[in-house]
Structure formats: structure tokens, C-alpha cells
Amino acid sequence: MPTETDNRPASRESTAASGPKTPSFGRPLLRTSYVQEAAIFPTYLQKGLVGLALLTITLAVLGNSFLTFIPRWLLGNTWLGPVTIAVIFGIAALGLNILVGVTGQVSLGHAFFMGTGAYTSVMLGGNLGEEESWKACVPFHDNLGLLERQGECGLGLPIWIWLPAAGLVAALIGILVSPAAVKVRGLYLAIVTVGLVFIGLHLGRMLPEWAGDFESGRKWPKLDIRVWKEEAPLVSVTEDGEWFGLIYLSEEQKEFFFLFAFLLLFTWLAKNLVRSRTGRALQAIRDRDVAAEVMGVPEFEYKRLGFAISSFYAGIAGALFASFNGRVSPIDFGLLLSVDFIAILLIGGAGTIAGTLLGTAFVELLPNIVERLTARLAEQLANDGVMSAVAHFLLTDGSEGNFGPISTSPTAPGWPMSVFQWNFVIYGVLIVVFLIFEPLGLFGIWLKIRNYWKGWPFSY
């Protein structure tokens, strides 16, 4: 992949060569060489922060294994699940970022492509239907409850086939729908892609042999690395045990590291795409499509490419999601999932890799945090003090004379609403608030902080 340095003018060669090759301390926007400008992490501070973040995550996840001084609740099994889901969604969000943030094409159809990838992986990598087969390869009643359908089996192929295949099939379908998508622009495109999601949901209803029961779904492929269909996996990811004879890890920890490696890989690919020739062409189309075409960037071809790359990411993420989640059902890939990704981009900061990842963590973990806080608050009900008063004000068990907006019973319908429903309200309000007050999202907040310290103690 060509980098910025490959096609710089020859006359600048000398200055670039004489300039410092290493990243600079401090001053974020002070660049003294082209190498520096093209660097992924231009300053030592950024390198250090990223390294520190990686180290923290690794240690926190390993905490259960041997670092006993790290509190178990930090990334114990209860937290690892949501965090791993966030990692998978991060891959999909990076893909949508390439389409929405870099190419400037608004798509609400990301869930459809994720579903495509998920079902490709299920068909190729799903089990052959011997032991522990569930909903696949066994007869089940279709949605009308009338007909008995024979479920289709997966082929049981190993991960190195079904994972790339999931991405490629999704990319292919992205290319197939792109003739309709590249012609329309702006809001029209958003609406067309909404149509895709509903058509995808209906395909799930149409083909229950493949999709499984609409509500409960079907069997998933396993994350284990196998050479072919042999019994014992080469690298086991889905069972507790030693990894490479080095360290004993639980299943959740293995899955996390396995998927986190994919996230790092795809982050690296996305970052390199943005600073390559292709990435610059896509950005030119985003900034002004007419001007881009005047400069010789073929608009439709690059839009199609953007669609294909974004769908590839979505397909990969869908396949990983299916196999991690352990349940695939068409209903998972509805419009709300697409809106999730748009919200991730807007809350994180569209067009930036760091913002996308921040947004994913924020959007995916917020509901869990709210639920945890509510549970902690409920424990305070028995005590005295300020927190207890807050808990009494907010929480209610729904009995007579006991008012409050949040119901402690998660299943009771009607007012007061459960935490689950309040999460949606908080989520929707957050989207609105972020768009109004911080259009650049979390990344914009980081920029503000950085710019404040850049000139400190002066104001600019």
C-alpha cells in the first residue's frame, strides 16, 4: 500500500531526508518532515498513550489469571462479554466510518451487510449437525406455525475459510446494490439503505431453512482455528486452557484476545487506507464530489469501492459477532443496529479512527454501566444517607404509593419503565445532545483539551 511518502515530489526529497525521522515531542501540529506528517502517531505522547492503553487492556483482561492485585470486577467475566461485543462492533464501525466519515456517503444499511456476513459464516462454518446441533439441520415449525421445515446444515469449514468469505460475500453484495446507491445522494441514499435493512429482514423470514427461526435463530460457527475439519483444533479459542503452553486463560479471555487482534489488524488497515491514494480519492469525493471528478477522480467507481470496503468490514464483524454471540437470528440485524453504528460515528467523531473506537466503547458500554449503577443504587435502598435518598427517589418496586421513574423489576410492563427502556431514552437523548453541543463528538472534546494544553499557559 503506497504511503504519503511514496508520491511526494522529488524536489522535496532533500528536506524530508534532512528533517527529523523520529516523532516530535509536544506540539501536535508542528511537522518538520513529510515522514512525520504521514506517521500514524506523530508524537511521542500519542505513541505512549496508545501503548499504555494496550498495556492496560491486556493486564486488565489477564487480571483474572495471575495478577491478583487487579480487581476482579474490572474485567471479570461479567465485563468481558460487553467489552468483547464492543470490540466486534468496533470493526463494523470502522467499516462504516470508511463509508460515512471518509467517503461521505450516509448509509443506514450497515446492519444488512453485517447480517450477510453473519449468515455466510453460518452457512460455511456452521456445524454439520451431529452433536449439540440446535435449530440447524433439525425440522422446526416456520413462523406461521403451520409447516414443518427441514433446516439446512452448515458445511463445517474452518475459520480461515468462513471469515474471509463472510467479508467477501458482503462486499460482493455491496457492489451489487451499489448501482442503485451511487446514483442517489444525501438523504435519498439514507432512505434507500433503510430499504435494504427491511429487505434483509424479510429474506430472513423467507428462508427459514437457512436463517433459522426468525426469533431464536440457528447454530453458529466456532472461533477455533482448525486446519480442516479435524476434531482437535490447532488453536482452541472456545475452551478454557493453556495457550501455546505459556499461560492459562479462560474461554472469555481467549475470545477477547483473539477478537482484539482482529480489531488491531482492521484498525491498522483502515488507518493505512485513509492515508493512501485511495483514501485521498475517497476524501476528495466526500469534500466535494464535483471538484473530485474535475480533478480526475472517477466518482462512481470510488463510491462503489467505498461501499465494497465498508461492506467487507461489516461482513467480517457480522461473522465474528455470530460466532461470539452464539446465536444468529435475522431479528438481530434490524434498523436499530444500523442506527447504533451511525450513533457511534457521530458520538465518537465521524471521519476519525480514534473517534470511531472511542464512540464504540461509549455507545456499547453505556447501557451496561447504567444497569450496573442502577443495581448498585438498588443495594443502597436498605441503608440510610444521601445515596439511599437518591435511590428512593429514582427507584420503585411499583407498589402503592411508591413513585419513581425506574422500575426495579425488569419484567413488569407499563409505567414505571425498566432500566432497559430508560437506556434507550438515554441513548436517544445522547445522540441529540452530542449533535447539538459537540458535532465533532468525543474526538472533538479531545481536540479541545489538546488545543488548550498546546498553548498553555497562553490561550492560543
Binding site: V184, V192, F198, P413, F424, L435
Partner: protein, 322 residues
């Protein structure tokens, strides 16, 4: 033949409802350049307001009740019911005004997409309240004619269908009249160019407010007529009618064009014809097409049309030269 007439009446009625809802989208888009994804939550909230007013006789947690409400267990007469509809529409319009003031007004000048996503956020934020209100089962909206129908030459035509057509005709007449009025001309000017309109002394903020009030009221009206007896057989607002049906209107406004009032009529009727006739005459192949296949027909029609005409049948084509 009887099947055909009944199907036709159903298609026209559904087309009218789609038309009203599309009109809500068009007015909001013309006035504020916002594609209102929150129409689903707003419309269901409007129908719920009617249910609360006419069946419960007043809002909970408020110290006063609705003085006009019929006695509990009784159904309001047609005139009284229409008064309640008007009240529900006014409340919906007030909600629209609040949304415009709080969430849309600060976003003037931002990209169209950011505004559209704001409405998506509103949809997500309002929807739980709607679903919560209907969590214990559907809520009746107290339609005076219930599930009655007329029999014209052996064809059964529910009264609700006729009511929907009348409502659509009235709203379209009102909107056409509105666009001839002073405010309507101002809105058309704002739709054409916000800054130029402002330079001519038009109060753009007021146009925004009017557009959202009208749009929210029209969305509520559409939901009220969609919650009547033959559509959901129980004739009540429930979680079933909410999440998806408003998104079926997106093909309508794509076909009609986001900014065309006439297009809303034609688009609504066209999509409803395809949907209802496909649902009626292809039903023997349900096994292959999958249950509920008719709800997908609008999107397929939309994709087919967009391949030929990227700006819809009546939308303003953006002239571009490269």
C-alpha cells in the same frame, strides 16, 4: 370482481393514509430541510394522546380531567370524537413545536444528515414511552363507528376506509390552501433558499415552528386513521403498528420526491396499490415469498424506480455538470 373492488378500496384507503404521512414528511422537509425520522414515534404518540383523551378521560398525574370526555365505557359520538381528534392533534403539534425549539432550531446551518440523525435520536428517545404506554396491551382510540362497514353491491367497504379517504382529501385541501396563504408562501420561499428568504424579511424561525407543528399534527392524524378497526383487527394503538409502518412511507416520499406535495398523493397511492394488490393476488405463493411479504413491496418498487429516476417521479432534480 368483488375481491377487486374490495382490494381497490383498501388500496385507496391505505394510499390516503400514506399520503397524509408523506405530507407530514414533505412539509417538514420543505420548511426546515429535515428528513423527519422521528415521524414514527411522533405519530404513535399522537394516536396515544387521542386514546388518553377519549378513553381515559384525561392524562395521568394531572390534577384535572378532560371535561369533554364521554362517560367511562361509552363511545363518543362522531362530532365529539372529532373534537377529541382535534385536541390530540393540537397536543401533537405542541410536541412538534417543543422538538423544533429544543432540537432542530440550534442545528440551523448544519449538514442535512446531522439534522436527520437528530430526528433518529428523537425517535429512539420517544419510542420507549410509546411502547411503555402500550405494554399492557393495545389501547383503544374509541372510534365511533368501530368495525362497521357499508355493503355496496355485495362488496364490503369498512367505514374507516372512507373516513381515511375523507381525512386525506381534507388535509391535502388544507395544505394546498395553506401554501397559497401568507405563511405558505413564506415556507415555499424558505424551502427555496433560507438565507435569501431571511433577507426578504421572512421570519425563518416562525416558518420552522409552523412546519414542525403542522408536520407533527399530520403524522398523528395518519396514525389515528391507521389505528382504526380493519387495519389492526382490534382497532387499537399497539406496539405492533408502530415500529415498521412509518418506515414504509419512506418509499412513498422517495417516489413522490421529498419536496413535492403532489408527489405525496401519487406516491402514496402508487405504493399502496402495489402493496395491497400484491398482498391480495400473490397470497397463494406466501410459502415462497414468506409471511408478510407485502410489507416489503414498497422497498422493491422504490429500488426499481430509483435505478431509473434517481430523484423520484416528482422530486426536483439537482442539475449537475461535470
Amino acid at each position: 370482481m368483488i375481491t377487486f373492488v374490495q382490494t381497490l378500496s383498501k388500496a385507496i384507503a391505505l394510499g390516503s393514509i400514506y399520503g397524509i404521512l408523506a405530507l407530514s414528511f414533505v412539509i417538514i422537509f420543505k420548511g426546515t430541510q429535515v428528513l423527519n425520522f422521528a415521524a414514527g414515534a411522533l405519530s404513535m404518540a399522537g394516536a396515544l394522546f387521542l386514546s388518553i383523551l377519549v378513553v381515559d378521560g384525561g392524562f395521568p398525574f394531572l390534577p384535572f380531567a378532560n371535561p369533554l370526555a364521554p362517560d367511562p365505557g361509552e363511545t363518543a359520538g362522531v362530532a365529539l370524537w372529532l373534537v377529541h381528534v382535534a385536541m390530540a392533534l393540537i397536543i401533537a403539534a405542541i410536541v412538534g413545536l417543543v422538538i423544533e425549539r429544543v432540537a432542530i432550531r440550534p442545528m440551523i446551518g448544519q449538514p442535512l444528515f446531522a439534522m436527520a440523525v437528530i430526528t433518529l435520536g428523537l425517535e429512539i428517545a420517544i419510542r420507549p414511552f410509546n411502547l411503555d404506554a402500550t405494554a399492557l396491551g393495545g389501547r383503544s382510540i374509541g372510534v365511533p363507528w368501530g368495525n362497521e362497514s357499508w355493503i355496496i353491491a355485495d362488496a364490503i367497504i369498512p367505514k374507516s376506509y372512507v373516513a381515511a379517504v375523507i381525512a386525506a382529501a381534507l388535509s391535502f385541501a388544507a395544505v394546498f390552501y395553506f401554501f397559497r396563504s401568507r405563511f405558505g408562501v413564506a415556507m415555499r420561499a424558505v424551502a427555496f433558499d433560507q438565507e435569501a428568504a431571511m433577507a426578504q424579511g421572512i421570519n425563518v424561525g416562525r416558518v420552522f415552528a409552523i412546519a414542525w407543528a403542522l408536520g407533527a399534527a399530520l403524522a398523528a392524524l395518519a396514525a389515528i386513521f391507521f389505528a382504526m378497526a380493519p387495519w389492526p383487527p382490534s382497532g387499537s394503538v399497539s406496539a405492533e403498528i408502530h415500529p415498521v409502518w412509518v418506515f414504509r412511507v419512506l418509499p412513498v416520499i422517495i417516489l413522490g420526491g421529498l419536496d413535492s406535495v403532489v408527489g405525496a398523493i401519487y406516491g402514496g397511492l402508487l405504493i399502496a396499490f402495489f402493496e395491497i394488490f400484491a398482498g391480495q393476488y400473490l397470497s397463494q405463493w406466501t410459502n415462497i415469498l414468506g409471511p408478510g411479504y407485502s410489507t416489503i413491496v414498497p422497498y422493491i418498487v422504490m429500488l426499481a424506480v430509483l435505478l431509473v429516476k434517481p430523484y423520484g417521479l416528482f422530486g426536483t432534480a439537482e442539475i449537475r455538470r461535470v
